[in-house]
Amino acid sequence: QEKTEFRVAWSIYVGWMPWGYIEESGLMDKWGEKYGIDVEIVQINDYVESINQYTAGGFDGVAATNMDTLSIPAGSGIDTTALIVGDYSDGNDAVIVKGDATLEGLAGKPVNLVELSVSHYLLARALDSVGLAERDLAGVINTSDADMVAAFQTPEVEAVVTWNPLVSTILEDPQATSVFDSAAIPGEILDLMVVNTDTLAANPDFGRALAGAWYEAMALMAAGDADALTAMAEASGTDLAGYEAQLAATRMFYDPAEAVALAESPDLPQTMENVAQFLFDKGILGVGAPSADFIGIEYPGGTTTGDAGNVQFRFDPTYMQMAADGAL
């Protein structure tokens, strides 16, 4: 149904820092006014909680990864559209061990990570790459991201999988070594802005305003606007240099055309099938999912993977295309 007030949620992560800047700098208000709507961008400490809130209907959109979008809102039957593909992790997520151990050396050791998160997925992919599986480990220990840095300091922790800015904080420790990071699986961990499909269909201006504001911020970042970057750096609790180091490990799509290209790339369905298989293996793909194909995912051009009769997750490049065309 049509409405004029919208709320989207985001949490602190390198690729999502622009959302905070968009709200604080007034960019969002500006674009909202242009389309006659009001969009509130709310920061949530706890990433999972922000997705849960979106799933429960508390927000119209949320900044999330492709994997979590598939498992939580799509898995709960909330038809969700990826409005903006902001970036993919290009080293921001990493497997870190103590000393000069190797990836193969993880066998028989416990690994601390946020279970069922993209870290868990990264670990699965990392183990895959050297022919290991999770059961070869001494186990995975669910550890809150807030305590990951402290956890790494304790003697019994041998390896952690986590994301930035925690990765850079942990790597400051001389005994920390990154043995695998998301640069090895480019384009698999996507940072998205996802919105409710029905809301978007009824309110295309909502999509236009978000895309417009986002790509204006992208233009500022691409141009190296020091004010904008410093604001984002400080909001994420680091300084400009630190933030730029994190950005270096993030493949930001400053140009909307690149984002459209990724959404339309033929690799995307394969990635999503991998993700769906991973989620199914962990038993968290939707309520009582009978197979990894339980949830349908629609790609640009109408192709689908999974159950075409149960499409709950759509990649829709329309609005990014508008930005690329300067049509906003």
Partner: protein, 270 residues
Amino acid sequence: MRLVNRHPSRRAAIVLAALPFAALALAYVVGSEIRLAANPQDKLLPAPGTIWETAVRLFTVPDPRSGELLVWQDTWASLRRLAIGVGLAAAISLVLGMAIGLLPYLRRTFAGFVAVISMVPPLALLPVLFIVFGLGEVSKIVLITIGIAPFLTRDLSQRVLAIPREQMVKAQTLGASSLVIALRVALPQTLPHLIGGVRLSLGAAWLFLIAAEAVASDVGLGYRIFLVRRYLAMDIILTYVIWITVLAFAIDWTLRWVSRRAFPWMGASL
């Protein structure tokens, strides 16, 4: 007749006691139906039938990944932590509380310290604990222990101080040394209050347990609740919440029973 003088009949009393539970259940069922009607996939308020099925599955069907019955594993792990943490706290508090209550020198030394320490929010100290005690069982147990020991210690020392001075003097006139006063006068009269204090602090102990398990763990009731929160499996969360409530109730009831049995001289004051 005044409302304060009106008593329900026996049958009415039973109906009345069931009323709020029924109202809660009804509110849940209605809320669940409304949400499920809008979106049959909704996970937030699963139908009671779904919860029941999940509960039965959790308690009887082994987890396909590990081949274990997860609930029992979680329960066992959590109860073990709870028992050790609370047991430690009880032991420390008993010794320290009796010492503070009985010996003026130790009272001067520790009473103020314990009062200040009991105000420190243990949850804020969690990262420090993890680093000092590691991420294993120890830090979880220590969190429970330091979370409830200051309260218990203060409570017990006050109970010891509340033993009538007459009894202390009387014991001395019967030739009791400080040790005998501690063992034969103070200790037996403090033990029932120890059980009472433990019953009071169990709520906090559960909190600390859940908080610690949420931060770093691979088994436990709190771990499971915060893990499945990742995919909004409310059926599992609710099953666990109800299960924890049942456990808490059972523990409380058992402690009260033990206390009644073990300290008949306390009469009705328990």
